[in-house]
């Protein structure tokens, strides 16, 4: 048992309990989102004591050196005094909603224009901060080198706190606070002949659309296969744009996958099953998996067993935090 000192409270932390859970159990709310060490929403700082290295994975070296760590990943091994991050550690940027429109029945495109420079790679994710402190992460679909705005594909969840707010109250012209971008699900230059397999379901298309377009923009020559899946055709979107890219770039193949109500241009079955049926051996491929958590988990294992190395498999973690 260790003790965490935070805002004047001595909070007991059980062995095997994370800092985030201990604080919540005590009744203290701190920002968090994915609870899996990815989104960095729960960044905190140890002003006394040292967090375990495993709680600092993925954060900037300069922050780690100052004692920053991720509360959701931190099982303390000693007593620590904690603080919330300084303003400078998590820079929030204001961004204007320039356009919003439906991409299909339940996915909204938000196009944001940040007030200041906001660096990102297509396929990374950013956080939206609601004024009351709620934070959610969304993948970035736009390509910073070519697109004027930051594009997000936001699926409306019936009970999603953030998505309901975005849907009902955030109109064109509204401003949002964003931070980021983080994540390593993006196109890596320097290997233009490598084959790329992109598999996504639902709004998991957002980062893949970003990865695809940054690959093409960078002049990628190797085959790129995108399998986008949905239960029925209504869940697919950007089909015209994807078909146009497939016509223009012979190295790009678009596979629209549906389970039901297939039309002539659809393939029938789950996106990941179809992907590995078409491409049984993915040795030395780069694989990007985004969307339904079960699909991502299963496809990751399959990709590995079919020859891809783990560091070459990028899984978009976002849809994993389904609390919307």
């Amino acid at each position: 048992m260790t003790t965490l000192t935070f805002q004047g409270h001595d909070v007991p932390c059980d062995p095997d309990e994370t800092v985030l859970k201990a604080l919540e159990r005590y009744g203290i709310a701190v920002p968090n989102s994915c609870r899996a060490g990815v989104c960095q929403s729960c960044l905190m700082r140890a002003t006394q004591g040292t967090p375990p290295l495993s709680a600092q994975q993925g954060i900037k070296n300069t922050l780690a050196a100052q004692g920053y760590f991720l509360a959701c990943m931190c099982k303390p091994t000693q007593d620590m005094a904690l603080s919330l991050p300084d303003e400078s550690a998590v820079q929030r940027v204001r961004a204007t909603v320039v356009q919003r429109r439906y991409l299909n029945d339940d996915i909204l495109l938000f196009q944001l224009l940040p007030d200041e420079r906001f660096e990102y790679q297509a396929g990374q994710f950013l956080q939206i901060h609601r004024p009351d402190g709620l934070v959610r992460s969304y993948s970035i679909a736009s390509v910073s080198q070519t697109d004027p705005f930051i594009d997000l594909h936001i699926r409306l969840l019936p009970n999603g706190n953030m998505t309901q707010w975005l849907h009902n109250e955030v109109t064109e012209g509204s401003t949002l606070e964003i931070s980021g971008a983080n994540g390593n699900c993006f196109y890596i230059e320097g290997n233009p002949n490598r084959k790329l397999l992109l598999v996504g379901t639902g709004s998991g298309l957002a980062p893949l659309w970003g990865v695809l377009r940054s690959a093409l923009y960078a002049g990628h020559q190797g085959e790129i296969h995108l399998f986008h899946g949905s239960w029925n055709p209504k869940g697919l979107y950007l089909q015209q744009e994807l078909n146009a890219l497939a016509e223009r770039y012979p190295q790009f193949y678009y596979h629209a996958c549906v389970d039901a109500e297939a039309e002539y241009n659809h393939e029938i079955g789950r996106a990941d099953s179809l992907a590995f049926r078409h491409i049984p051996d993915v040795t030395s491929w780069q694989v990007y998996l985004c969307g339904h958590p079960e699909m991502v988990k299963g496809a990751k294992r399959t990709a590995f067993l079919r020859g891809a190395n783990l560091p070459d498999i990028y899984a978009d973690p976002f849809v994993l935090s389904t609390s919307g």
Binding site: K300, R301, F304, L305, N309, L310
Partner: protein, 125 residues
């Protein structure tokens, strides 16, 4: 027996050999129906990192192996029925992996002997 002047770890090719072996070893384990149920739902990166540490140890490389970690790390699996037959299956997969990479039978036997030293800790005895 091999040249006594070079360590097993060096003969096998050091860290690069571990990196090469770990992917193949992990794949074999995941498709082995005798043991793959024990790996359901685990974080694959974390598991690969653990296997890398294990391979470094059984290659006789630099490690901070502790029997206690091994014991704690497998206690939940022992509770689910992990036993000698599963341990043997893992060693078998390890041997097959090394064989495919062209490691000599004598070196594989040395690796297996080092793996053997973890048996009681893994099985919580």
């Amino acid at each position: 027996m091999s040249d006594a002047n070079t360590s097993l770890y060096e003969r096998l090719g050091g860290a690069a050999a571990v990196d090469l072996a770990v992917n193949n070893f992990y794949r074999k384990v995941l498709v082995d129906d005798r043991i793959n149920a024990f790996f359901d739902g685990v974080d694959m990166e974390r598991q690969a990192a653990k296997q890398k540490a294990f391979l470094t140890f059984v290659f006789g490389g630099p490690n901070n192996y502790t029997g206690l970690d091994m014991r704690k790390g497998h206690a939940h699996l022992v509770a689910r029925g992990l036993n000698d037959s599963h341990f043997d299956a893992v060693v078998e997969n390890l041997g097959a992996t090394l064989h495919e990479l062209g490691v000599s039978d004598a070196d594989i036997a040395e690796v297996a002997a080092l793996a053997e030293t973890t048996r009681n800790d893994v099985l919580g005895r």
